[in-house]
Amino acid sequence: MENNLAPTYQYLFGEHWVLWYSTSNSYSIVEPSFKTILNYYLQSETIECFATKVSNDDKTIDTKAISITIANYLNSCNEYVNSIAHKNLEIDFTHRRILKQYAIKDKIIQIYFDSELVLKTIHPALAHCLIEPNDNAQITFDIYLKNEQLYLFKDEKIISCVPKRDYHLIQGKFIMQLLCSIHNKEENDWIGTFHGSTITNGSKSILFVGESGKGKSTLCALLCANGFELLADDVSPMLSKNKNIYFNPSAISIKQGAFNVLQPIIPNFDNLPIVQFNKTKGLIKYLPCRSPKKDNYKCATIILVNYENKSETILKTVSVKTLLERLIIDSWISPDISNAKQFLDWLGTIKIYELTYSDTKSVTQKITEIFK
């Protein structure tokens, strides 16, 4: 019944099934017992047939109630999400008030901002790439605020338009388009942009994920001061073709709460400019890092990071379920069917850990061991 609502892909990882639904780009994690009943439901031509199959396994089950549960579950998994198209929005050139140019990899990128306020949302993380303006820009972005909406254009074509309170979506879209430009890719070439930071030892990389404020960027700053290289901070893009994570030129953003931890460890920390978004909130510093030797690295390890004051350094293996419950809801993952398959294939090959720490020396040592 309702075979059109069946999952597109089904993967077993340890004790959990991970199902992907192409209609909605939803991922569902279910126990084997639930999967068995789901299969009966999808394979049965009638409710009576389904009831017979279920009763053969367990006569105590309320088959009518379960059939409703399964039907509701399938509807929830298949709820289609409309994507927003901005095809007809024309660029307004009168907002070109501030021009900045950046050299990133082999490209010259220029951005027109309409105000210092708008500039503050994008420029600080790329300030270390700033160059004197010249006529050689290969890609042009326009970012401006108009009628309470933030607009992002690339080479005069609309990319995104959001209410100003959703400025983080403009930041995310800008980074996506920047990554496409510097790596010569299209948006559809990526499995996703994971919400996490990636560190490399020069031959492979580790992706650090976790809730905001749990210490991912602080840990990466520590590791960069101890011989590792930053591949990406906050937005870690994975290419579908090779399942490698690619270089993101943004500097590491460090919240005020981490200043005292990093000040003794990062050379010249006090001289890093402070960015103040809002007078009532905290300050941010941006720490640029040396670019890694290659622009992409294989990633076979993910670590869920949890900074906990005064805790020992504890590393433990966790399940794909634990990872996905954090990773998926915080990340953009491509709705493309072949990219989803690449993502699921990759999940079957990686090691997943949870790391709790408070001591900077001990955690650096632990990460060094993991790389080996």
Binding site: S24, Y27, I328, S331, W332
Partner: protein, 53 residues
């Protein structure tokens, strides 16, 4: 994870839309539905405050 009969406080649609996650315990096992972000985003919207007030 929530039991199915307590989810009347928030509908499935609302849960998935707001949190990207909906979990339930049923008579035949648990399930969770996870939705990725529909568009790329930078980190949580308030790392240092909203510059636009």
């Amino acid at each position: 994870m929530k039991k199915q009969n307590t989810t009347s406080k928030i509908t499935r649609k609302e849960a998935i839309k707001k949190m990207g996650k909906y979990a339930a315990l049923t008579a035949v096992g648990t399930f969770v539905i996870l939705n990725p972000l529909s568009a790329q985003s930078s980190s949580a919207p308030d790392p240092g405050g909203n510059p636009f007030g």
